[in-house]
């Protein structure tokens, strides 16, 4: 249903203005953004799976990018090592957040919100102190250009080359989707996270270490947020404090449109990617039509509210039908 809508909108915008089908300037960046934003959507999804919210996804992304950027700039580490250092910082931040939530028993949205404020100041402060007026780490590790600009087109197996519109950035996103999808559908950890989300008390009574699962969920959320932050930094070509500042809305749009319950207990991993793609198609489609930023915002807000209301209406109908049967 959602995929059909996505494809239909894609064709609709293409027919209205053929510039929308431009592979190099529209489709390639669109899929590259979709890759990054799906990962941030997955970061939110991990928190949503246990019925929590992570309002600090954007700032966790910023801190991870900061750590990776600093590692490249001052320690001259390789691309992969810097990436791992960034991810480690993101995961630690997530775990710390989870630990605070478990220990203080304060609502997750307040803890992550306060975390967001603290990290916001921290990130800006570090950039201003260390890099002065440029407020960015600009060292580009070897191989960064490759991830930024090349597509699957460069790779050929037995004379068949990958499509030009698929950026290399899609690779980490696919890995993330596959791993998270696997965790939630096939592993015990995933099932424990979901039962913690759907009914905390029942989960506790059936012997699930819920406190540890809360920390795990936030750790995964921080790790994925960090990955998204570093992916965005690679796309932009520099590590700045602005990374992640636009992540909050997309992080909810993807999973919610994809069908992840806000109340916890049910996730849609692939749906997150499709939901993200849908919002980006709306965004790009409208902007190719020459519609300004302000209308885009209005459209995206309306899409979110409509999707939420539809989900609610659907639930209401189901409830009425169930009542009819009994």
């Amino acid at each position: 249903m959602l995929s059909l809508l996505t494809v239909a909108l894609f064709i609709f915008f293409g027919l209205k203005n053929s510039a929308f089908f431009n592979a190099d300037f529209v489709i390639y960046p669109l899929i590259r953004d979709a890759a990054t934003l799906s990962v941030i959507g997955l970061a939110q999804l991990c928190a949503l799976s246990i019925g929590h919210l992570n309002l600090a996804v954007g700032r966790m992304a910023a801190v991870s990018a900061l750590a990776a950027g600093a590692a490249y700039q001052y320690l001259h580490v390789s691309l992969l090592l810097g990436l791992f250092m960034g991810l480690f910082v993101g995961a630690s931040l997530g775990a710390l957040t989870g630990w605070i939530i478990v220990k203080s028993q304060v609502n997750a949205f307040i803890v992550t919100l306060a975390m967001d404020f603290a990290l916001l100041g921290f990130v800006t402060y570090i950039y201003v102190t260390f890099t002065g007026a440029t407020t960015a780490f600009t060292t580009k590790p070897a191989g960064m250009e490759f991830w930024r600009n090349t597509s699957w087109h460069q790779y050929c197996v037995a004379g068949v080359c990958g499509p030009k519109i698929f950026p290399m950035m899609l690779v980490p996103a696919i890995i993330a989707i596959a791993v998270i999808g696997f965790i939630f559908s096939k592993t015990r950890l995933g099932r424990e996270l979901l039962s913690t989300g759907s009914n905390l008390r029942a989960a506790k009574l059936s012997g699930i270490p819920v406190d540890r699962r809360v920390i795990t969920a936030h750790l995964m959320s921080g790790l994925l947020a960090g990955l998204a932050g570093i992916m965005l930094a690679f796309t932009n070509g520099s590590f700045t404090a602005a990374i992640g500042s636009q992540f909050m809305l997309p992080s909810f749009l993807g999973p919610v449109l994809g069908g992840t319950l806000l109340a916890g207990g049910s996730v849609a991993v692939l749906g997150t990617f499709i939901g993200t793609l849908l919002t980006l198609i709306i965004r790009q489609g409208l902007s190719v039509q020459g519609i300004g930023l302000e209308t885009l915002n209005i459209a995206l807000g309306l899409v979110l509210l409509t999707a939420l209301s539809l989900g609610q209406i659907q639930k209401m109908f189901t409830a009425i039908r169930m009542r009819g049967r009994t």
């Binding site: 609502n107 930023l293 807000g301």
Partner: protein, 318 residues
């Protein structure tokens, strides 16, 4: 308890700043500036507080304030509407936005957080549409003059903010409606069993939040030389930090009007200190963020200790 310690912190901090600035802070102009720019944080802190007290949050305070001031400014500048009418329209606009938030929360039964995230996005779009990239300042100068007025040495707009907080405090302590809203926040099930309409409480809280944002918008437009698209962009942090530091429980059910007001004052002191020692602005949000985080942790720790003590005394925990 929180309010007393905050008052002491405020007084000590203020005196410390006065002595380190060799009394410059006590000069007419800087004292005026300190008090004038205290008005908006107080009112938006209360706008967030009334939603926090039902256990929800309003992410759209900044966007609502931005749209509301934009409505007032464009009314006066483009349509030559008189000042009181324009201010009233903007105020009613903000109230209506709050009411829409409330209605959506009640109808969809979703957390206010996600609803206001949606309305925030829409309103930011509306704000950019109204203001674009301009600064609107072509309205009668009697409005900025009104913003500079003093009543017995205090800026008029601060008096408005304080008066609003007094009215709000009366509403929660003296009226049935206010107590019903708090009952919903404290325990929704218990409130429903004792005949309180939770839907109505949620709607009232969001509408009230909108009305308070409207007051903040009036104060903003009166104290600034012009309106642009950045108005409201930095409201979110202060709207949350004032009530949280002021002692409003995150779980809902309580308000602390005086605490919110005095916490806004303390945050304003941090801001003044930053300017005085020419530190980077980011240090303010870092400090405030850390303080908010530790306040939350501390209050929870205290609550649990009380519960444990009560258990020791063989009294059922509340």
């Amino acid at each position: 308890m929180t309010e007393l310690s905050l008052t002491i912190i405020f007084i000590v901090g203020f005196l410390a700043l006065v002595s380190t600035s060799q009394g410059v802070l006590l000069s007419r102009a800087s004292l005026q500036g300190f008090l004038t720019y205290l008005a908006v944080p107080i009112v938006i802190g209360m706008a967030q507080m009334v939603v926090l007290c039902i256990g929800q949050m309003n992410l759209a305070v900044g966007a609502m304030g931005g749209v509301s001031t934009a409505i007032m400014a464009t009314q006066m500048a483009d349509h030559k509407v008189s000042i009181p009418v324009a201010l009233l329209v903007g105020f009613l606009g903000a109230t209506a936005m709050g009411a829409i938030n409330g209605a959506l929360v009640v109808l969809t039964q979703l957390n206010g957080f996600i609803i206001t995230l949606g309305t925030m996005t829409i309103l930011l779009g509306v704000q950019y549409r109204l203001v674009r990239t301009f600064t609107i300042d072509k309205y009668p100068t009697s409005l900025p003059d009104f913003g500079k007025k003093n009543i017995v040495g205090f800026p008029l707009i601060l008096v408005i903010a304080i008066a609003t907080s007094v009215v709000l405090s009366m509403y929660f302590s003296r009226t049935g409606s206010g107590r019903r809203v708090l009952a919903t926040g404290g325990n929704a099930l218990a409130a429903r069993l004792s005949g309180v309409s939770n839907s109505r409480s949620v709607f009232i809280a969001h509408t009230l939040s909108g009305a308070l944002v409207g007051v903040a918008a009036i104060i903003t437009i009166a104290s600034l030389p012009g309106i642009n698209r950045s108005i409201g962009g930095d409201w979110m942090l202060s709207s949350f930090s004032a009530p949280i530091i002021g002692g409003v429980l995150m779980a809902g059910g309580t308000v602390a009007v005086y605490g919110t007001v005095i916490a806004a004052g303390v945050i304003r002191l941090v801001d003044i200190a930053r300017a005085q020692y020419s530190l980077d602005p980011s240090i303010v949000s870092l400090t405030v963020g850390v303080v908010v985080l530790s306040t939350v942790a501390l209050s929870e720790w205290r609550r649990r200790r009380t519960v444990r003590q009560n258990e020791g005394r063989k009294v059922l925990p509340a």
